[in-house]
């Protein structure tokens, strides 16, 4: 059971990578420049990077939350056994 939960977590991580790449490819990368000129492009690139970091952080927290729940579920099972 424990191993199945861990393999499911890896699968969830894999799915999140794909979802993340869809979000980055279709929503973050095509964003137009916030300002004109080279500095505008640079600022937009940094802004896009921050959005991507935010997305990765969100996914990491989601994975962590699911993992903690799985951990406590397994610890409760151990007590019952």
């Amino acid at each position: 059971m424990g191993l199945i939960i861990l393999l499911s977590l890896i699968t969830l991580g894999w799915v999140l990578i794909f979802i993340g790449s869809i979000v980055v490819f279709f929503f973050i990368v095509p964003l137009p420049d916030l300002l004109e000129g080279r500095i505008g492009s640079f600022i937009t690139a940094i802004f896009k990077a921050l959005l991507a970091v935010l997305l990765v952080s969100g996914f990491t927290l989601l994975l962590r939350e699911v993992s903690y729940r799985a951990l406590y579920f397994m610890l409760r099972r151990k007590k019952k056994i």
């Binding site: 059971m1 424990g2 191993l3 939960i5 861990l6 393999l7 977590l9 890896i10 699968t11 991580g13 894999w14 990578i17 794909f18 790449s21 869809i22 980055v24 490819f25 279709f26 990368v29 492009s41 640079f42 690139a45 940094i46 896009k48 990077a49 990491t60 927290l61 994975l63 962590r64 993992s67 903690y68 799985a70 951990l71 397994m74 610890l75 099972r77 151990k78 056994i81």
Partner: protein, 329 residues
């Protein structure tokens, strides 16, 4: 590439790593250079650090490959491995600490930037590539410290690091073959063969531990190969168990700490020499704590489970490689 140019670096990587590891075990045992393996009864002494043989075989084999091919990407991989390996050797002999070590591994990403051996068009799964001219170089600066330190974080039991790296490198090899990047395929094979030679002495029960020198060099070499080969997503999926382990640890400890600096350990050793998960809510989350959460396990069983998870992750990475690099039309 002629058969000689292909086979010489490969043969050298395997034989050099095998011979040098055997020599290091004898040398360290003669000079009392060892660490104690606390997970076994009688606490056996294990030779340490064996990473020097991995660094030597990876660098020398890649050097010959570079001489034959004159491919600058191979020189970049070689230098990345060497710099990360040197940081690891310093850490093995004079403990650098949880913050200095990742900071120093940033230096290892310089050769990739210096030789411009990267593609600013990042390839995404399913949808194609996109231009990241400003962000991608910044990502490279973070990537090598990330790959080297997450690989280091999984080096917790006998044989795990070397076998994990063999399994994680297979998807890279397949992805590079699908992209027809045969010089880099040879470099990936060098990585796999070096790990395999080291695994012969590192497998349970270990005769030698790689130390941070081995772990950082292997992780950096893997990261460099993924970047210069433009197969970053495949590498990311293959490293998932190590990445998840590191992020669990970082987000629960909320600091860059070495295991020896932890106030509360994620697992403890019971009198039967089995590892069991701590029920304390403040104990850090780690892959091993999750593995032993349901029942206490012996080291050998934990290693088996880590390898099952790694093999599964590698299978997902191979699927990713097939999705990304197979021409469907």
């Amino acid at each position: 590439m002629s058969p000689l140019e292909f086979t010489l670096p490969l043969t050298l990587s395997f034989l050099l790593c095998l011979g040098l590891t055997k020599f290091l075990i004898k040398y360290y045992n003669r000079h009392n250079r060892f660490v104690i393996d606390y997970h076994k009864p009688n606490n056996p002494k294990v030779a340490f650090p064996g990473g020097i043989s991995l660094i030597a075989s990876l660098c020398l084999s890649n050097f010959f490959l570079y001489l034959f091919t004159k491919d600058i990407r191979i020189l970049a991989i070689l230098l990345v491995t060497l710099i990360a390996g040197i940081v690891g050797i310093i850490d093995d002999f004079y403990i650098l600490g949880g913050k200095v070590k990742p900071a120093l591994t940033i230096l290892a990403s310089i050769p990739i930037l210096l030789f411009s051996t990267y593609d600013i068009y990042l390839q995404f799964p399913l949808f194609g590539s996109t231009r990241l001219s400003i962000i991608y170089p910044l990502l490279i600066i973070i990537s090598i410290p990330v790959t080297s330190n997450v690989v280091n974080s999984i080096d917790v039991f006998n044989g795990v690091l070397s076998s994990f790296m063999i399994l994680a490198s297979l998807p890279l090899l397949i992805a590079l073959m699908l992209k027809a990047q045969f010089i880099l395929v040879t470099s990936a094979l060098i990585l796999i063969l070096s790990c395999f030679a080291f695994f012969i002495y590192h497998r349970y029960p270990s005769k030698i531990f790689p130390g941070d020198s081995g772990a950082l060099a292997l992780g950096a070499s893997f990261g460099a190969l993924a970047i210069v080969g433009d197969v970053e997503f495949v590498g990311l999926v293959a490293l998932l168990p190590a990445i998840i382990n590191s992020f669990f640890f970082l987000t629960s400890v909320k600091d860059f700490l070495e295991h020896r600096q932890l106030k509360k350990k994620p697992v403890r050793l019971n009198i039967d020499y089995e590892l069991e998960a701590l029920e304390d809510r403040d104990a850090p989350l780690s892959l091993v704590r999750m593995i032993v959460a349901e029942k206490p396990l012996k080291e050998k069983d934990i290693v088996k489970r880590i390898l099952i998870i790694s093999a599964y992750s590698s299978a997902l990475a191979i699927v990713t490689a097939i999705i990304m690099y197979t021409k469907w039309v």
